[in-house]
Point group: C2
Chain length 119, copies 2
DNA sequence: ATTTGTCGGTTCGATTTTCGAACCCACTCA
DNA sequence: TGAGTGGGTTCGAAAATCGAACCGACAAAT
């Protein structure tokens, strides 16, 4: 971040791909959901326990991520209908975000690193 | 993300550096604030306009980021007291997160890339 | 000299989001 | 048969965010 960018005060919020990305994955729990999928955890109950997300919020997040093409559902049981969730190619492209967050998080907590998704 | 990780259901949310990182920067507006500082925008009013954050929320975020050692205040005027905000070394280490988000955001929106902070 | 405008907040009620408890139904298992 | 599981949904409570208004110390305009 040594590159200096002119401040841009256009009187309106800056239009920026970072903001676009955060519109999709910036809500509470979304990135942790994606972390779990990357770890190979795909079922609602498991995602819910591992992230700590409340079930309704998790259901909302999964729905939104699916609508945005980041994840998709796969039926693993028909009676009753049971879906698991997997990353799409687009979702997998968020790997570098998660990796960067993990590396920064390791620095600030200085704790034991947990094996995470490789970029 | 080709590496397969065993699911871990310990009955409690997973302890993970990603979650630690999101505790610091995962709140609404925080990463956009850091984006602005990386762009060389340091003053409250400018950050506020460029991010679109409401002023109270922005004040809260700046305070928290300062407490977490991600940013610091610098006095640029004494009467009245006026501070601007700069990234600490720790804050600059979030560059890869912002870069990864930008790159992903560019993919999903397919729009014109805006010059952003270099990692 | 006076008035208006700017800045960086703070205050506060309204709105939105998140949360936790309870409920639902279709199964599976003891 | 009754208890448990899974993936939700419902709903009121709690928390977070928001937008409007206010504040005081200046600076700029008149």
């Amino acid at each position: 971040m040594s590159q200096k960018i002119e401040s841009t005060n256009l009187g309106a919020p800056r239009v920026c791909p970072i903001a676009d990305a955060l519109d999709v994955v910036g809500e509470r729990w979304s990135l942790l959901v994606l972390r779990e999928l990357g770890f190979g955890v795909h079922r609602f109950k498991d995602i819910q326990i591992n992230t700590g997300a409340p079930r309704e919020t998790l259901a909302l997040r999964l729905r939104k991520l699916e609508e945005c093409g980041v994840i998709e559902r796969r039926r693993y049981h028909d009676h009753p209908p049971r879906d698991e969730y997997v990353l799409t190619a687009r979702g997998r492209e968020l790997g570098p975000v998660l990796t960067a967050l993990r590396e920064w998080g390791e620095r600030i907590s200085g704790g034991a690193a947990e094996r995470g998704p490789a970029a």
